[in-house]
């Protein structure tokens, strides 16, 4: 066996037993037979210069962690991929960016000192401040809102709902016009330079807001802050909380009341970033169950076993992605639910896109919007 490349840890390759559980768990492998996590690891073990960096497959991984979740050797395959993507980029191998790379370009532009209009929506949606205890990290929703208008989607609705809920709870969070993309996509596209620049901006912005707690509705932002910012920047001077955790904890105390839902059952889709990568499964369920008269049914694959929404980091969207999405939608339909609730804007966009070609009446809705819609008008006004 040759020397393994320096940048790879033991945990990343050496412990592999070639059991194949990873490939067996991988949603992409099921659609694209030439994609095999097991073989990718083996290839690197056998021949570190064997050209994995130049392969197209390096970009096909969803980093959904379905493999690592089950790996008996606890190999962190997403981490393996992330590392190699950085190398691939150096070798001139780039991913097929979806939507003509608009979102990557937007992230790139945010590494500069530029004028943004990130908070315009918030001025119409509620009350917020420049400084305060809570910082609501909105993420890329304003850009998604423009990009996916052609699909009749308004991802910003989610942020508006969050602000409404927080306001009702008596919280006037900081929403900053200077916020930047969290860098999640850059990180997973192997573009560490951009990731670093963005992260530095964000840390500076949050610091100047004096916030003690940063709230995320977006699982990607959450996991990036929670897991990857400390990895590169050390311990953060503020608490990082996902809104589902926060709400599950605080909502009942805030005295908000919700309307009973129609009798139709609902189901919940676990985003990989919130679930397998960050370990939050129960908070959203708890929230949904706390609503009166709610029939939450589970899909066949849920929590740790949940199926990914099919694409990540706005790249390599393909017919396989669609097949995965259709499979997930089918699973949701089979529960008898009429509403599919997601806690991730990208899951929502991807599933809604796939649904464009499907004939189901299933409604895909974002968790926070769902909550807001069910708020009683008579409910206590936290403000």
């Amino acid at each position: 066996m040759m020397d393994k490349p320096k940048h790879l840890s033991q945990k990343q390759i050496d412990y592999c037993m070639e059991c194949g559980l990873c490939t067996g768990s991988c949603p992409i492998s099921r659609e694209l037979s030439k994609f095999s996590p097991r073989q990718m690891i083996k290839q690197v073990v056998l021949d570190p210069d064997g050209g994995l960096e130049k392969s197209r497959e390096i970009w096909a991984c969803l980093s959904c962690a379905a493999c690592s979740e089950r790996c008996p050797a606890e190999i962190d395959f997403p981490e393996f991929i992330s590392t190699h993507r950085q190398e691939a980029r150096k070798a001139g191998n780039f991913p097929q960016e979806s939507h003509h790379g608009i979102l990557q370009a937007v992230a790139g532009l945010q590494t500069r000192d530029l004028k943004q209009q990130r908070t315009q929506w918030a001025r119409e949606a509620g009350v917020f401040g420049d400084t305060g205890e809570y910082f609501y990290f909105v993420g890329c929703l304003p850009f998604f809102d423009v990009t996916f208008r052609y699909m009749d989607l308004s991802p910003l609705e989610s942020a508006r709902s969050v602000l409404t809920l927080l306001n009702k709870m008596g919280i006037e969070p900081v929403i900053s016009n200077h916020e930047r993309c969290c860098g999640h996509d850059a990180l997973w596209c192997g573009d560490h330079a951009t990731f670093h620049k963005l992260a530095e901006w964000n840390l500076e912005v949050i610091k100047s807001s004096c916030a003690k707690t940063v709230l995320f509705s977006c699982p990607e932002g959450y996991v990036t802050f929670k897991k990857y910012y400390p990895k590169y920047f050390g311990k953060l001077p503020f608490e990082v909380l996902h809104l589902t955790e926060f709400l599950a904890h605080e909502l009942s105390a805030a005295g908000l009341s919700f309307q009973p839902s129609s009798t139709a059952p609902i189901t919940y889709h676990d985003p990989c970033r919130l679930g397998r990568l960050a370990g939050i499964y129960e908070a959203p369920r708890q929230l949904l169950k706390s609503l009166p008269n709610t029939d939450l049914v589970e899909m066949e694959r849920n929590r740790q076993n949940a199926l990914c929404c099919g694409t990540s980091a706005w790249m390599e969207c393909s017919s396989y992605s669609k097949a995965i999405q259709m499979e997930r939608m089918q699973e949701a339909v089979q529960t008898g639910a009429q509403t599919l609730i997601t806690a991730c804007p990208k899951c929502q966009i991807h599933l809604a896109c796939a649904q464009g070609g499907a004939d189901s009446d299933l409604k895909v809705i974002d968790l926070y919007t769902y909550l807001r819609q069910r708020l009683s008008d008579s409910g206590a006004n936290g403000g």
Partner: protein, 1022 residues
Amino acid sequence: MTQTHSTPQSEKTGSITIIGSGIAGIQTALDIANSGFHVDLIDEKANVGGVMAQLDKTFPTNDCSSCMLGPKLAKLANHPNIDILAYTDVLGLEGEPGRFQLTVKKKARAVDPKRCVACNICAEKCPQRVSDPFNLNLNQRKAIYIPYPQAVPLVYTIDKEHCTYFTKGKCRVCEKVCKNKAVIFDQEDEIITLDTGALILAGGFEPFDARLKAEYGYGQWPNVITSLEYERMLSAAGPYQGHIQRLSDGQIPRRIAWVQCVGSRDSQIGNDYCSAVCCMSATKQAMITKEHDGEIDTSIFFIDMRAHGKGFDRFYERSKSENGVRYVRSLISRVIPNPEDDTLSISYVAPGHDPQEETVDLVVLSVGLCANTSSVKLAERLGVSLNEYGFCESDPLDIVATAKPGIYVCGAAQSPKDIPDAVQQGSSAAAQATALLADVRGSNVTAPTIHEERNIRGEEPSIGVFVCHCGINIAGVVDVEAVAGYAGNLPDVKYATDCMFACATDQLQEIKQAIKDHALNRVVVASCTPRTHEPLFRNTLREAGLNPYLFELANIREQDAWVHQAEPQIATHKAKELVRMSVSRARLLEPLFETSYTVVPEALVIGGGLAGLSAAHAFAEQGYKATLVERTAELGGNARTLYYTEDGAQPARYLQDLIQKVENQPLITVCRETQVVSITGSCGDFTATLSQKGQSQTISHGVVVVATGGQEHMPVEYLYGQHPGIITQKEFEKLLVSAPDKARQLKRIAMIQCVGSREPENLYCSRVCCTAAVKNSLKLKTIQPDAQISVLYRDIRTFGFRESHYSEARRQGVRFYRYALEQKPHVTHQDGELGVSVFDAHLQATVQLQADLVVLSAAIRPRPESRELAEAVRLPLDEDGFFMEAHPKLRPLDFAAPGYYLCGLAQGPKFASESIAQAGGAVSRAVTVLSQKEIVAEGMVSRVDAELCRACGECEKACCFEAINVKQGAAGRKQAIVTEALCTGCGVCNVACPTGAASLAHFKDEQINRMIENHSQLNSED
């Protein structure tokens, strides 16, 4: 072939000569050359293009004229089967139809066309300034010249009348500076004889000499100009770069007046015809003026507004309502200059107003179209008869046929006409000439040479860069050696050099050699614009065994050296950057392969009226099978009741002959009581499903001609249907023919025009009704000279030579009353007596008429079946329900979808003769497809990556050409599939695709991204 030809097949010549190279001649040449014949295109002028090249914009779309003409010129210049004999005079004709010998004189340009690379250095250095006829002498050019930069052939000519060497024996500067030794002073005229099967006259027109109407002071007062001069003035490429100005002082005019009918509709000077285009042309000019500068007052002084073409009335109304162009129905009598400021005073009386005097800054005389003097001489020499105005006389129904067999005519040489009519007729003349020679099709064409292509798959890019000096054009500003040196250090560049003229034959040879010597697999030339030179270099690659798409041009002349002449450093820097951008793109270029389909050499003609029958018959004459589908049980359509025309032809009789010929023609299958249910497939290979009395059948065919016709509108006003004495114009025509005795009893006739036409809900002119009213009035006058005929009209639109019939009707005492749309006539009916009261817009008084018969000139409407067909076959209709052509100006016979053509009333109202010509033209267009064994789709088409495609359908929604559809793919799942034959390579699907699955070959995202990344030095560190 059923036709019997007098000459044995072997003796016929598969070549056709076209004399005159305006838009009509160009269209004719392209059609003929694309259907298996050789073409000699002759023009007495040094370059082709005709008047259209001088126009700024064209109505009613206001498209840029030279932008539309440019691609046609490029096709012409590069066509392997067209010889352009510009600067050539016709001397004589011998022989007979099918095998003429035409003697021509190629005049000496004093420039060798093979050596001239059009670098312009000779003209730059030429000391002799000459007023420039292309710009109507508004500015000057040199004595060695090309008329305009896009000229074809792109070869300079010495104007011997002005050249100081030819006039005084001195100078020779051009010869000295020409680096390619192209100037040859003692070059001699060359007399050659061309073997040609048929001749087409397309000599166009000559603008009326406005000096002959001296009352307008043209040539006397500086700010009185002609419409053609104004056209050059508007043109961005014209002498004033598109700035509207007074000639006296260059100031922007605040008020401009157009005077219509200068040299038209004028018996005084012997031009008793309407020039057919000036009303719309002035409207267009006024609109464009308003667009240039909304502050300029524009007034058009006219007699009758002749907006008789498709879309013209809407254009006219738009100019009034949206652009604020003022129209005054009053013909200016004279123009008076004010000596203090060179303004011009005009006085006029508008209907119902007192005399007005106005001062304007510019008067534009809308000069008429006159017979081309040299065409007249030529026609006389060829024995082709001319009408009294000097235009070529042709058959009243078969308007492209002259009295001399084997000689055809098209365009304004036949009568004044606008561009679409000229283009249609050009195609129609092409159809007739090629039908004559159908049995020698393909006998005289050049087969393209096939070069073996090197497979470069798997090779790393290996790029050669050639930086052109273009004499001093580039090298005079840009440090060419430095650019070449810079290029040599760019990634993947294996060879970089500079050269004097990259496009010169010897240099092309060197490029080929370099490809071999350095194993190059990509080539970048930094020289001039790809719009003119890309085909040449691509061909060089092909000859060197490389795929032609592995070539990239960096434009460092037009877009660098010439626009930064005073800043050599900046220009050199920019040249480097342009080269870097091109090289970066070249690294990603891929070989492209053109796909081909076998053509089914049969036609489907939908509609059995005059147009459809003519089309089917023309296909058979060309030797192709045709299926003629008619909805009803009887062939003939409207023409069955078109008994006579104003010029004595008898369409109904012609029709009966035609039906007979069609029925006896073995190549034609006639399907009566049949409908087209659907058409699938693409150009060259369609399958149509027909339904005949409930029975369904499918047929294969390569092209579709839509000729579903139109119908007379059933009036809903003027008491139509409530009194037997109120009939339509068609019914009246029938009465005149079938019951002349009854007609003789008619003493008082009132005709009402525009019934159902030119109203807000039907905002189009039915084109034929004015002539029909005139024709039927004259007919009645021959039956009953005492008949008192009153025609109530809004504008009389007897365009072209039809004007003389209108004049004749007036002379014979037919009374014409103009009414306004707001004050339509009233038909009354009391005690069996019919009365018509009309507010005479001229006198501003109500006139009460009694009538024995009221004749309503009812509009032409599209047939309702057209809509059904449009929906079944997915063909576009215009706002009025007529089929919409691909482009109203230059592609009037084509649908946007390849393989579909249209003709007859289905396209819009027209005369029988025009329908026949259009049918011929549509066939000519279709034969360009049928005559090919296979259709080669352009390599630059969209491709879909099946893995990336998620079948979302965004591409299908975006495509204007229905070239991409989501279907079951080879992988067993749905995906977008491109019909390459339909793909135009616009790339819209590429943009619409969210995943990047659809990508336009040669303009892929990454290819463009790479140029973006390299557009400025800033990014090289990235």
